[in-house]
Amino acid sequence: MKKYKFSLILLTMFVVLTACGGNDSAKSGSSDTGKGSNFPSKPVELIVPYAAGGGTDTVARSFADMAKNDLGQSIAVVNMEGGGGAVGMQNGAKAKADGYKVSMVTVELLTLPHSGLAQFSHTDFKPIALLNEDSGAITVKADAPWNTLEEFIAATKEKKLKVGNSGTGAIWHLAAAAFEKETGAQFNHIPFEGAAPAVTALLGGHVDAVSVSPAEVVTQVQAGELKVLGVMAEERVESLPDVPTLKESGIDLSIGTWRGLAVPKDTPDDVVKILEESFGKTAQSDEFKEQIKKMNLGYRYDNGEGFTKLLEEQDQLFANLIPSLKLN
């Protein structure tokens, strides 16, 4: 009898919890379709597919904080981490298309599907605004024997150099791999759990270079510990005005990460328009630009149309690049 009662309690717990889990889907079927004119009539949720406190989260939170005035509703940041961004973006793509669930999307929206790690695609979203872009860069120790990209590439052809990245298949690994393809350099790719450990390993002399963004090395560069040989951007980076782009060195490559806002693809056009105008205003405000600059990140705004174009172009790049790496 005792045992029976006990398993009954366990069973009840499961039932209650399953019911809780089901609640979400039940709710999303009900009333409250955000029809144009009175949108937004309640707080908007901003899904961040990474952990609270990280770079993407900080961008999202400061944006949400500023955007609430332009939007006229508060914006709640919800962190849904997991699967290197896959869980959050999947949830964002599948969310009810009423404009009340906006997703922070990142370059992983394009790289995860091509790596076979996610089933969504960038066409599951309607882009609203591009907020930031950071290119890759080749950074070495300040006392390293190479002072130009040419010297560095030549050195890798004699002996494979160890290049640290932020994880296999992550954007800085892809950047380094694209660099190899484009220049004929030979790297021994060392994956770390994020950019910071890779930079630490470079400082300690355990790897020869890193391919992470300028933002992630700028402190050590200013302190004279590291030097950047080239940035993988279209134009020179503001924080490192003396560092040439790859294009200046005759290498046709620009690759990097970006962050932007998007809603599910079936969101009504009038709602999308309201969001685009309101978020566009915030994203182009001096306050937001200042904040992005303070975080050492690269500012790049584009509206829904421009953002869509970027997605399509880059999707092509990764569609060619990732399968050629034979990751799995």
Binding site: F14, L17, G21, A51, V87, S115, N188, T200, A201, G224
Partner: protein, 500 residues
């Protein structure tokens, strides 16, 4: 010194000190609740600091950070439900003391040890940070593998009664930790196309399940089975006496140093520090004391608590001097500083000396506040033991569920927690300790990825582990601590046979 005094002056501005006090109190509460970790607490308060000036904002976060590392010990000691992974080691002796009716004392030891460990680490940060920062840079993949291997060898000492059962639990933990993306190739292992499994089972829900949910189930079972089966725990608040504390200074100071050093190492945090120091605590005991270790020995509590708070100052060393964050909390603090336009790194001490010393002063005060609130709160904390069991169990379940869900707003984590809870319940029934699983979940993935990263670095040559002294040292200690007890046992047996 002048700078430090000036810093103290800055901290005692009314709004700064009030926010610091608020931060510490909130931190203690966050730490005590299952599932709400130090990282989450600090992340939650990050946006609040955007509108503040640099010092005030960062000190608020530091208050939350320090408080929450200590706060975890309260639930660990009273309810055997460690609120943060860092206090899983504290639960071993802490909860045993509660069962002996010495909850007040256990909490007192934890508060004082946390303060001492924290202060030691802040002092080391102030005095020799630049020299110590080099330690962080000497640690790369092979060294981290050595450390992880050494950490895994600790399993035998946190196993409680049966080492065999401890090892079984440890292997079970390592097996679970292989689920998720391969750390080197990102190939999804055992994920069955579940997106939520790509990063493996989330660690915190598993831990809450193993400790808190299983404890709630045990309490419920006791209640259903007649109520009196579980001995009533006396909710007293007898504080530790001075001469009792005197015996513990050495343990606290040693553990504070261990915590600081582990805090400096990037990628190793308060959880690893607490377990390593707990294990070292055992090494220094007399034979008769070893018997009580794990069964309510104050030295066990202070070893774990001084070390996990020792990490706080240690983690700030590479952050402030090199601009590299060693763990998740340090990464958020880095973000908070950068948003304020302060760039941590080698130049920080030269360009913003006053700010740095104000932070140092704030950290000292935060540690003192933590002890004050910790001790004066004991009267309040022990009241939780007076809550009727039939209310306590559902309360633990509710808090656990919220905690597990809040980690990443994913219902999958809640189911993970429940399943872990049921496994934990049966483990308790059959005498399998839960701590080895926690240790294995923290260190298993670390050992695997660092081992493989080392081999990628050396292009497949195993000599990388032999050429690097720190790595080799750790590996030798790990192997010895596995083999020595066996050899020792054999020798003793032989002696006995000879004597007979």
């Amino acid at each position: 010194m002048d700078l430090l005094l000036q810093g103290l002056g800055n901290v005692f501005q009314p709004e700064v000190i009030l926010l610091l006090i608020g931060g510490v109190i909130i931190g203690i509460i966050i730490g005590a609740l299952p599932g709400l970790t130090a990282t989450m607490g600090v992340a939650l308060f990050l946006p609040v600091t955007f509108g503040m000036d640099a010092v005030t904002g960062v000190l608020l976060l530091i208050g939350v950070y320090f408080g929450s590392i200590y706060g975890g010990s309260i639930a660990a000691i009273l309810l055997n439900t460690p609120g943060t992974p860092a206090s899983a080691a504290t639960a071993l002796d802490g909860h045993a003391m509660t069962k002996q009716g010495k909850a007040g004392k256990a909490l007192g030891y934890a508060a004082i040890a946390s303060g001492v460990g924290g202060l030691i680490s802040v002092l080391m940060l102030i005095l020799i940070a630049p020299q110590l920062a080099g330690v962080a840079l000497n640690f790369s993949a092979p060294e981290m593998f050595g450390l992880a291997l050494f950490g895994l060898s600790i399993i035998s000492s946190v196993s409680g009664g049966s080492v065999l059962k401890g090892l079984i639990a440890g292997v079970f933990g390592i097996l679970i930790s292989t689920i998720g993306m391969d750390p080197m190739t990102s190939y999804p292992r055992f994920t069955y196309d579940q997106l939520s499994l790509l990063n493996g089972f989330s660690f915190i829900p598993v831990m809450i399940g193993l400790f808190a949910v299983s404890e709630a189930l045990v309490i419920m079972e006791g209640e259903i089975g007649g109520g009196d089966k579980i001995k009533k725990i006396i909710a007293n608040y007898v504080l530790p006496k001075w001469n009792e504390l005197k015996r513990l200074w050495f343990s606290m100071i040693r553990s504070g140093f261990i915590g600081t050093i582990i805090g400096i190492i990037p990628g190793a945090g308060a959880d690893i520090a607490a377990f390593v120091s707990y294990n070292e605590g055992k090494r220094f005991l007399k034979k008769e004391e070893k018997e009580t270790y794990g069964k309510g020995n104050p030295k066990g509590i202070v070893s774990a608590e001084a070390a996990n708070n020792g990490v706080t100052g240690g983690a700030m060393i590479p952050l402030l001097t090199l601009g590299i964050p060693g763990d998740a909390v340090a990464a958020i603090l880095l973000g908070a500083l950068v948003v304020q336009g302060i760039q941590p790194g080698p130049q920080l001490f030269a360009t913003s000396g006053e700010l740095v010393y104000t932070l140092f002063a704030g950290m000292i005060i935060a540690n003192i506040l933590m002890v004050i609130f910790g001790i004066s709160g004991i009267r309040l904390f022990v009241k939780i033991l007076l809550v009727p069991k039939k209310m306590l169990a559902p309360l633990i379940l509710i808090l656990s569920t919220i905690g597990a869900y809040a980690i990443s707003n994913n219902i999958f984590d809640v189911f993970t927690m429940l399943v872990a809870g049921i496994i934990g319940y049966f483990m308790k029934k059959y005498g399998f300790p839960a701590s080895p699983i926690v240790l294995a979940l923290i260190l298993g993935p670390m050992a695997e990825s660092e081992f493989r990263r080392s081999l990628v670095m050396s292009e497949g040559s195993y000599s990388i582990f032999l050429e690097r002294p720190i790595a080799l040292g750790f590996i030798i200690i790990a192997v010895l601590s596995l083999i020595l007890p066996l050899v020792w046992g054999k020798l003793k047996k032989n002696k006995k046979v000879n004597a007979a």
